[in-house]
Amino acid sequence: MKNLILKQKVSLSLSIASLVSLLVVGIIVFLYIHSILIENKKKDILSSTTEQVHESNLIFENNQLFAHILGSETQVKGFLLNRSPSKKTELLNIFLGHTNTMKKYLSISLLDKNGIALVSTDPRLEGQDYSLRDFYKKSLEGEPSVDTAINKTNNQFGYYFAEPILGEQGDLVSILMVNVDQTQINNSIILSEISKDNFLMLVDEEGIILASTEPSRNFKSLGTLSEQEKNKLQNSDKFLGQDIVPLGYDLVQQGIRDYKNPIIVNFFDKDDGDNEMVGLSKLNKLPFYLVTEIRLEALNEQVFGTVFIVILVILLILMVLSLIVYFYTIQRDITKEKELNKTKTEFVSLASHQLRSPLSAINWYTEMLLDGNAGAINDEQKDYLDEITNSNKRMVELVNDLLNVSRLEMGTFIVETKPINVISLIKSVLSESKPSIIEKKLIIEESYDDSITEFLADEKLLRMVFQNLVSNAVKFTPLAGVIKINISKVKKYENYNEKIIKEDSLVFSISDSGIGIPIHQQKSIFSKLFRADNAKESGIEGTGLGLYVVKSIIDQSSGLVWFKSEENEGSTFNIAFPSSGMKLNKIN
């Protein structure tokens, strides 16, 4: 009996001891997980703001595309010098087409070099003088820029994105001006993922909120302003003469003044009486900042909830198993992303099938005729059939290029590597161009590092890169010209064709003695659909997609591409991949 009581006492004290130890473990785990979750949330805020940057930059990129649609610099100059009513209508139609499809722009206008609007999708703007605007000054310096202003004609607040169009000597020929409604930027912020539980503000360099998920805060200041600053801002038409009320985010204002990197500040909001956390990042290329605000209270509730559940689970496991085990999981539903990827892949499949089938039929039936399968043909008939074959071949190439571009742009493509022999690969690509090489009596000089055996690469992608570079070299080199191909290993910090290589790499270079790329067009050579003027004038066929594909593949598979070119002398294209091989570059 006594023994029994003793046993009960022992087991009772053991239970108390185990409960206490569980509690201690619980507290330690709580503190540990709490700090991890807070850190993760902070990282989330900063990475989401980078996506916002990307979105704003897209507007600018579309603008550049638009400048491209206008034509070459000479054509723009020609248009500005001799404007005829018919040309103007034509240009307006392009403008209108663009506004209808994009719907993001209030207006698109072309200004002359004095800042006067010559043609615009909004006829009320024609003849307006923009030479006093900040963006005009920037354009004179050749810089693309953004300005905020109220449009006095339609009385709407908006952003002006200005893209200078420069002449051959770097002089200002014209300015492409795109007016974006403030609500468009607002909407894109509101629609963005992060605004669901956070508060976002687009802030200018003076700390004034230009757009936000809470419109009542628009045109207020993130901090204290001096009387002088206040007067200046109230008189400026940029801020519609509104009262500038400080919101007490002094630390954020400080962050804007000495901006270096994205920052996160914890602070107490006097107006709301809440503790808040703010992330600040500068929008790439633009004079704006994106400020993300999250209430610490809300964050704590969220974190506390998660931590509570995790601890409960751990304690239960501890009790059941009497073992010390802890874990936490982060889950994300990716069903939608998967579905979207599937739709994209299916689209490319369908497009390739529909576009290629009729081309295959043309190819095969023409081949039958040429083979004399429907009776002997005479020389003239053969000549015509050859023309059909060649045109069809060009069409097949165009379709192949377009499909490659859409795959690359949709981001559905994968980098699948295996050890391959790159020297055999380039030799096989060269043999595809053999007929042209023989016909043009080109001299091919190959030099390969003997020690290269195998390299980890995606054979299909690398082949595509080589095919484009080799076919360009062959196409643009005149009769009896020289093409040099080199593959070598380069050590970290060595110089290869005027570039310091940052890590041990395998490098490829293809040089030709062709027509070269005019110096003023070299910056555009990797742009989609771009063709240099001398290439167009030479009458040599091309889609303007080859080098774009090359650059996209190399960027997305952790490689580098650079070139050197001189008009009428030739071009050298260089590629470097880390010795460890090609791999998908997650950043792109």
Binding site: T345, S349, R356, N363, W364, N373
Partner: protein, 124 residues
Amino acid sequence: MEPTSKKILIIEDEKQLARVLEIKLSREGFEITNVTSGEAALPLIETGQFSLIICDLMMPKVDGFQVLEFIKSKNIIVPVIVLTNLSQPEDEKRARELGALDFLIKSDTPLSKIIEIIKEKLSH
């Protein structure tokens, strides 16, 4: 050469393409059976009478992948050349995993090349 070694089954739903393949291959001395759907092909394949199959991928109802799956599941030994206009690496990988011996893209492959490949496969 065995008596059956010239019998080829072409599974192709586009009539224009099926027609030109049939004419050209018949002229090369092959005995061609044309079907315009994967569905119609399955019972024919099961008879085991063909020495080679040329198969399209994108077809309504029973597509080329399902044809390949069928051949694999029934353990039928017959070389299959996929002749398609799908060119995504995933498609080629999947077809090869299902047993396709070759993967040719129609718009990139002349008839002469197709014949060359068929002859090579049949000579093994």
